[in-house]
Assembly symmetry: C2
Homo-oligomer: 218 residues x 2
Amino acid sequence: MTPSATPAYRRLSVEERRSQLLDAALGLFAHRAPEDVSLDDVAEAAGVSRPLVYRYFPGGKQQLYEAALRSAAEELQQCFDEAREGPLLPRLSRALDRYLAFVDQHDAGFSALLQGGSVVETSRTTAIVDGVRRSAAEHIYQHLGITGAGPRLRMTVRMWITAVEAASLIWLDEDKQPPAGELRDWLVDQFVAVLTVTAARDPQTAALVGALAEDGRD
Amino acid sequence: MTPSATPAYRRLSVEERRSQLLDAALGLFAHRAPEDVSLDDVAEAAGVSRPLVYRYFPGGKQQLYEAALRSAAEELQQCFDEAREGPLLPRLSRALDRYLAFVDQHDAGFSALLQGGSVVETSRTTAIVDGVRRSAAEHIYQHLGITGAGPRLRMTVRMWITAVEAASLIWLDEDKQPPAGELRDWLVDQFVAVLTVTAARDPQTAALVGALAEDGRD
């Protein structure tokens, strides 16, 4: 297959082509561990030649994987976007619904990334994942109306985010049981429960738990 | 430095020498990221020559790191050993005290390992860490007197174990604040809180939470 045989080659802009290749890669990384995806697979899925993939990603699979990961991280962070209006816990529920839909779609790729030990995992990929975690925490503080979260509250929120990740991995392992809606409610209830435990040790969190209880009564 | 110049070389058995090198390596990995430890450093810390380190670990740093990690994993699993007598939550507290002392001692090495993205992280090192997590869960089930933990209870226990790991990393990041004793009580209270949330959805966990409440009254 040569470029001239496929006119579509010339019709796409550089950005469009790049985005097409990333989509193809993400589709493959979603259902297989990164080490099981070759550049040939990506070229085939995108309907292009292997040299073309290399032209866009001269660093080979590692570069393609990191670019795909960055693109997935952006998509994941969009799950957290939620209007700051209405009761707080339903907002968290809606964000979790979108997050679980993302986990559902990205499946094996999501597991491989978070479980570590992948041959394509580096300090850069870890930094991308940590960025998503930080972004999740920031969204939570913003919705809760907190500007300077103290150490107890921060630790609680970060522990809960980690627990949500663990739950997602187990959920994928267990054929997505319980159904996403049940898992979401369970995670929201855990959020309130761990905040309540921290409230007994931290005035900032205690005020927050009080506000959440008020909020639920509106 | 030649072997004949240091008579101690011949006095140690193969096992003793191996164990001496592992101890030296663990001491270094505890306070620096694995990528910042060279075989020269290990040789120097153990007071032996670099070729000797290579003779015991012909696979170089990767092999030494994995052996040191396995040795640390065994030590960590010993933290979970606790007599099956007396009230349950104080048993959990004592195990957590030992665990936090381990985290305190192993510091940077513990962080590097769990945070991932280390150049020496492989699917083998990940499997060692997962083995410790499984062992922690098994110990919890044994103390709770549960033989066939259902999916809800398993997910809850695994989420809590992950949250404890996250708390340990944050704790190291935040200059070991709050003091270990306070962190331990906080983690135990979270354990009860998340079990209680699950109890509303799962009869097995509900029975357990009931038993824990009875247990506390003894």
